[in-house]
């Protein structure tokens, strides 16, 4: 069974790499490894568990979120067991991934932690 190494990067914390089996989500694998990721609905509706793809297989990243420099689409890097309803097309274009319903299809690095969720929406009046 294909297992992929997913490196989780929290701001100001050491990174952790977890092996994610083909039959589990990133969130499930993180929990199995004792790594606490934020989550809410666990069905892909709420976006609490969102991460941002930084790099796939040592290749180019969505890190700076400019289309020119990205070579891997986040939707190619993960298989979703349910549609990521909390994400809008612009979020998926920017490399955001819902870890409660996503299984990696390649080794990758993901920015995680609660502050990623707050990147999804701005204060519209400020």
């Amino acid at each position: 069974m294909a297992t992929h190494d997913v490196t989780l990067e929290w701001p100001n914390d050491p990174t952790r790499t977890v092996a994610v089996d083909a039959d589990e989500t990133v969130l499930q694998a993180a929990e199995r490894a004792g790594e606490a990721l934020p989550y809410g609905c666990r069905t892909g509706a709420c976006g609490t568990c969102v991460g941002r793809l930084l790099e796939v297989d040592g290749g180019a990243a969505a890190d700076d979120r400019t289309d020119e420099e990205r070579t891997v689409d986040v939707d190619d890097a993960f298989a979703y067991r349910r549609a990521p309803r909390a994400l809008k097309p612009r979020h998926r274009d920017d490399g955001y991934v819902l870890l409660c319903v996503a299984t990696p299809e390649a080794d990758c690095r993901i920015a995680v932690g609660s502050q990623i969720q707050s990147e999804l929406v701005d204060n519209p009046w400020k």
């Binding site: 509706a45 709420c46 609660s114 929406v121 009046w125 400020k126």
Partner: protein, 467 residues
């Protein structure tokens, strides 16, 4: 004095069945004012959902007894079994609507997880040390093609109805879930398809009416507030008036552009009344609604408006965001919160068509005159309100919803919420901040927590309904 013993003190000669008060609550709204003791404890929804604190949400037990050594402290925390629920609103298994039902007690709190769709039952027999006794797992809820539980009201004979904001996918339509007195899912209360969006509801059984409001699909509001979703019509602006007995929508009123995102809805407490108010949070207007006796139709009119204000650090005028309202038990005052501005206010509604501003307090938020209390920065504005049954003490917390907090008050995650209090003079119509009262949820042992809805053990101004 517990609810179970209260009836002994209120023997009545009235022959009307509703005055044979043998069950929970009070015979009338006025009885609630006269017979209730001062609230000594509050139950407060407290949460870590959406933060990096690796702990479950909890029900905080807050000491409100000024004579207690632990006044203003969280004296107990009932932790949920899982992380990530986002505890939000909650309610009782029984209230004054069952006051004639012998043997029924106001004892169990129904505590839904807004994000998880998990429903918890907390036994408050030991008031200062409540205990989690039942859990309905999300999968059981999803089987009814419902999710995102919100408002809990008990209805006569021990049933519980919960407004559900989405289907099993977190999309529309929402509906209502019914629990029985054993806290098992009885089924869907409403036939599917009556409504699309859902949020809060209130019922007035003597008028055979229920009113429900609209937020949005869970998948829309869960991740945060996106103005594009408003432009795309994904947020609500309608009121639904239901036939309470039949569980069907009889009339829908579109409040229009001035009625965007109608959230908390309250009928007057007297069971005779068809009047009520709803706060439309985004438009920041209060709508008064009532039944037109000639046509038998409900009507709604804008009764109070709050204006956006210019802020030097904001590009656009800041809307007040009127997120919560409540009506005093004597039906004299409407209280409300302007969460973004940092204001709580009270309006005289003795003539409900013509509300009259009585007083307000400018505290916290982006414009509040008071930004610090006892050395504690307040950050967010007043949000969820609760009023003592006698109408003399108004309390509030400051968190709206984890993702929305992060947009408008990102400091709330780092510092936690506060619970504050104002003394109300219902004869003079005045509010005064109690500077000695501060509950700091930033001091919780596991880390700063957000605080949302507040309830008293013996019922409050948003829990009880009379038949």
């Amino acid at each position: 004095m517990s609810d179970a013993t209260a009836p002994d003190d209120v023997e009545s000669d009235h022959d009307h069945e509703h005055h044979h008060h043998r069950g929970p609550g009070y015979a009338t709204p006025q009885a609630a004012i006269e017979e209730s003791e001062r609230e000594k404890l509050a139950y407060v929804m407290s949460l870590y959902a959406g933060t990096d604190v690796d702990e479950p949400d909890f029900v905080a037990v807050v000491d409100l007894d000024p004579d207690s050594e632990t006044y203003c402290e969280i004296v107990d925390r009932v932790e949920m079994p899982n992380r990530g629920d986002e505890l939000h609103h909650f309610g009782w298994n029984a209230c004054s609507s069952s006051c004639h039902v012998e043997g029924l007690e106001r004892r169990h709190l129904i505590v839904p997880g807004q994000r998880s769709s998990r429903i918890h039952v907390v036994d408050t027999k030991e008031r200062r040390n409540p205990e989690l006794v039942e859990v309905i797992e999300p999968e059981e809820v999803f089987e009814y093609d419902l999710s995102a539980p919100h408002t809990v009201h008990c209805v006569p004979e021990g049933k519980i109805i919960i407004s559900m904001l989405g289907d099993a996918d977190g999309d529309l339509p929402g509906g209502f879930l019914e629990l029985n007195d054993e806290f098992e899912i009885e089924g869907r209360w409403d036939p599917p398809g009556e409504i699309e969006m859902n949020y809060d509801y209130w019922y007035q059984p003597r008028q055979n009416v229920m009113v429900s409001t609209e937020w949005a699909a869970p998948k829309t509001y869960y991740p945060g507030f996106d103005l594009e979703d408003v432009e795309d019509g994904k947020y609500g602006r309608r009121l639904h008036f239901w036939d309470w007995e039949d569980g069907t929508v009889e009339q829908t009123i579109d409040l229009g552009e001035e009625g965007l995102i109608p959230l908390e809805v309250r009928f007057l407490h007297t069971p005779e009344s068809t009047h009520g108010f709803v706060g439309t949070a985004l438009s920041s207007n209060m709508f008064h609604f009532w039944e037109d006796r000639e046509t038998g139709e409900y009507r709604a009119e804008k009764a109070i408006e709050f204006d956006a204000r210019e802020h030097p650090d904001w590009d656009m005028p800041v809307p007040p965001l009127t997120t919560d309202i409540l009506i005093s038990m004597d039906d004299r005052y409407l209280f409300g919160s302007n969460w973004l501005h940092g204001e709580v206010w009270m309006y005289d509604i003795s003539d409900p068509s013509n509300p009259r501003r009585a007083d307000s307090l400018s505290v916290g938020g982006h414009f509040g005159e008071i930004q610090e209390l006892q050395g504690r920065e307040l950050t967010a504005g007043p949000q969820m309100l609760q009023l003592s049954l006698d109408g003399e003490r108004l309390y509030w917390t400051t968190s709206l919803f984890s993702t929305w907090d992060d947009q408008f008050y990102p400091e709330e995650a780092e510092r936690g919420s506060v619970m504050l209090k104002a003394d109300v003079d219902p004869r003079k119509g005045t509010l005064e901040l109690d500077e000695d009262f501060l509950v700091d949820f930033g001091e919780c042992p596991a880390g700063p927590a957000r605080a949302h809805e507040i309830r008293w053990p013996d019922g409050d101004c948003t829990s009880d309904v009379w038949q």
